[in-house]
Amino acid sequence: MEEVMLKITNLHKEFNGNKVLCGIDLEVHQGEVVAVIGPSGTGKSTLLRCVNLLEMPDKGEISIGGVSVTAPKIDRRQQYALRSMTSMVFQQYNLFNNKTALQNIMEPLMQVKKMPKKQAQESARRILKSVGLSDKENVYPSKLSGGQQQRVGIGRAMATHPQVMLLDEPTSSLDPELVGEVLDVVRKLASRHMTMLLTTHEMDFAKGVADRVIFLSDGRVLEQGTPEQIFDHPRSPRLKTFLSHYRH
């Protein structure tokens, strides 16, 4: 087995008394793709957002690469250190609206990696090419389709060479005919052994891309295993009920 890249220990998070995560333990290995599934509102997004501290966990430990933090006492320096190990792809893309497709990818290279502009530009062009958007270099997000925006979003997330990439429902804001192009890019990343933790409502996608599937329910990891184990041989009644909603 590859080394552990992301380790979450006893993670707790509540929003004004609403206990969302109640002690999550999770390990993701180098190059592994882990898909988190579960009912709506069960805390999948919250889990991902806690990993890069967009939400501050109430309790628990997160370590990525060599950086390890213990909630709730996490200072700014630790926050930035942990975040620089990760990157995130958002359901709503969250591209920088005042920057072109190319500049969106250049921005973290220049600001975070302190790369000179020329070099950042070349790097960003290569990335844009790998997500199939070379012709959209100078286009602003408002002029891109959802699928194109999300591919730029993935490009931006790749730019800083994160140890772990977090993808929160990367396709669920997309029209069905645009889902494919984004999934292709994610599969490509998986084949290059990018470590990924993703949430999704697309069971076929989870089946196809994930090495391991986590079923989250009531703030806990209720069941986990290979896609075959989870989808073809679910054990808990909860998971069975959940999956039955997706079978036609």
């Binding site: 890069n52 967009l54 930035y80 975040r83 620089s84 990760t86 990157s87 995130m88 958002f90 709503q92 969250n94 591209l95 920088f96 609206n97 005042n98 920057k99 072109t100 921005e107 973290p108 600001q111 975070v112 602003y140 408002s142 931006r156 997330a157 730019a159 800083t160 977090l166």
Partner: protein, 220 residues
């Protein structure tokens, strides 16, 4: 009844003093913008201490009349802070108008900042940028575009408020109107003329604002 030749004769005189009015207005605008950006930034980034100071500043300058503030800065404060006595009345008026306008402009900017989707900052943080980088490079530029109409309104207020300078003995167009009018008691002519001049200035800057908005909206 209405002395037309006197009326027309007022304009060349007033145009000689228009630079004072515009000088006060533009200098106040720049200073007010600078302070307003600091206040809005302090709020958005939740800078400790500075945020509290800015809150008090806004509360004071929004909660009291401009005329009182001008008298306080020109006559009151120099008694406490002696070096201020060396400053010209004009400078102190610019400070007063700017301090006052900064409190309104900071509110305009804060509104614009909060109109920028929270996802923009999260996008910055998620790829490793600091809050400061995110603020200055991504959020603020988007907010400024939203704020331009509001800030332009604030600037129009500044232009109009610069007329208060005459109460402190600075000769700008309002003071000229009063002086010229009172020599022959031709107040109708002189104050009509001054209203027209203000209207022309404001209309001109409204036009500039439209151009600026057009230019900004062409960008993305």
């Amino acid at each position: 009844m209405f002395d037309a030749s006197f009326f027309w004769g007022l304009f060349p005189i007033m145009f000689r003093y228009i630079d004072t009015t515009l000088g006060i207005s533009l200098a106040s605008l720049l200073l007010a913008l600078l302070i307003a950006f600091i206040i809005a930034g302090a709020y958005y980034l939740e800078v400790p201490v500075l945020k509290e100071i800015c809150g008090a500043w806004v509360s004071i300058f929004r909660g009291t009349p401009l005329l009182a503030q001008l008298f306080w800065i020109c006559y009151g404060l120099p008694q406490l802070i002696v070096p201020m006595q060396k400053l010209s009345t004009m400078t102190l008026i610019i400070w007063g108008v700017a301090f006052n306008a900064s409190s309104y402009m900071s509110e305009t900017l804060r509104g614009a900042l909060s109109s920028v989707n929270k996802g923009q900052m999260e996008g910055c943080l998620a790829c490793g940028m600091t809050r400061f980088q995110g603020f200055f490079r991504i959020v603020l530029p988007q907010a400024v575009r939203v704020a331009v109409p509001g800030l332009s309104n604030n600037f129009v207020d500044i232009i109009k408020q610069s007329s208060l300078a005459f109460t402190l003995g600075v000769t700008e167009i309002m003071a000229v109107a009063k002086m010229e009018g009172s020599t022959d008691l031709k107040f109708l002519e002189s104050f009509t003329a001054v209203m027209i001049v203000y209207w022309l200035i404001v209309t001109f800057f409204n036009y500039v604002q439209k151009l600026l908005e057009k230019w900004l909206s062409r960008m993305y």
